[in-house]
């Protein structure tokens, strides 16, 4: 592992440890909900991580579509990063759903409700799982183009998820960021949000950097193998043509 990656991991683990300490032992307990509200400090960073990595997936998919016929190397890199960011985004989304459900059971008394925020988020997770299945079981440049187009459509659900608590009456609490005045959590609790947000986003970047290496190499090997087979086919066709004459 490269030195910068080791250093990044060490700093990330330090930030995560600090986030854990601040979330559980430093910030005050919520007067209405009690300690269960501390789930937010892992729940909110998961959504921020998800939003960030799905945005990277969208940007890389657009870049892939733009350069795929002009710059093969850049297209391959963009495509590898698109797969990587979708995977990390799906992991964050899953954690957001599970931690939200655990909080809901303790506070609302139910594990799940089909309100606009929860339903649109579940749909988002399923769309990106479908995207990853397409990537896993499809092959070739057509699959990459199809996946890039699918990523654009998939991302349309992200603003829908974000705005769902504003557009519809939902059971979900008011937004922490960009909500109405007085919505969100108390400023004295924000350090726990900031530390954990920084820590988990840094962790996501670390994992994505590792995953990108293997994905890019696998795609490069697949492309090289395809070109080698194409060369061999041309060679055989050439020899057959010579013999035929």
């Amino acid at each position: 592992m490269k030195l910068w990656r080791v250093l990044w991991l060490l700093v990330t683990l330090g930030v995560l440890a600090q986030g854990f300490r601040v979330a559980l032992f430093v910030v005050p307990t919520d007067a209405a909900q009690g300690d269960v509200q501390r789930i937010f400090y892992y729940h909110i960073p998961s959504w921020v991580g998800m939003g960030l990595f799905f945005a990277i997936n969208l940007a890389c998919s657009l870049l892939y579509l733009a350069v795929r016929n002009r710059n093969q190397t850049l297209a391959l890199k963009a495509d590898a990063l698109a797969v990587t960011s979708a995977e990390v985004g799906v992991v964050f989304c899953l954690i957001g759903l599970v931690t939200g459900s655990l909080w809901g059971r303790a506070v609302w008394g139910i594990w799940w409700t089909w309100d606009a925020r929860l339903t649109s988020t579940l749909v988002l997770w399923l769309i990106y799982v479908a995207y990853l299945l397409l990537r896993r079981f499809g092959a070739g440049p057509q699959m990459r183009t199809l996946a890039a187009v699918m990523a654009i459509f998939a991302y349309l659900d992200v603003p829908l998820v974000y705005m769902s608590t504003r557009w519809w009456r939902t059971q979900h609490p008011a937004p922490v960021f960009g909500g109405a005045p007085g919505s969100g959590i108390d400023p004295s609790m924000m350090p726990a949000v900031w530390w954990n947000m920084a820590g988990w986003v840094m962790w996501g970047i670390f994992v994505a950097s590792l995953r990108y290496v293997s994905e890019y190499r696998a795609q490069k090997a697949e492309q090289d193998e395809g070109l080698r087979l194409l060369d061999a086919e041309h060679e055989i066709a050439g020899v057959a043509g010579t013999v035929g004459r």
Partner: protein, 38 residues
């Protein structure tokens, strides 16, 4: 331990476990890619 505390512990544990499972999968793939490159 009441339900709120149980769920708080479960939420933190689930977050860490899911990330650890995924990073293990990523590390296995990373090592395989490194071996292939050699």
């Amino acid at each position: 331990m009441d339900m709120g505390h149980r769920h708080l512990v479960a939420a933190y544990a689930v977050t860490i476990v899911i990330h650890l499972v995924y990073v293990t999968y990523v590390a296995i793939k990373f090592r395989a890619a490194k071996k292939l490159a050699r």
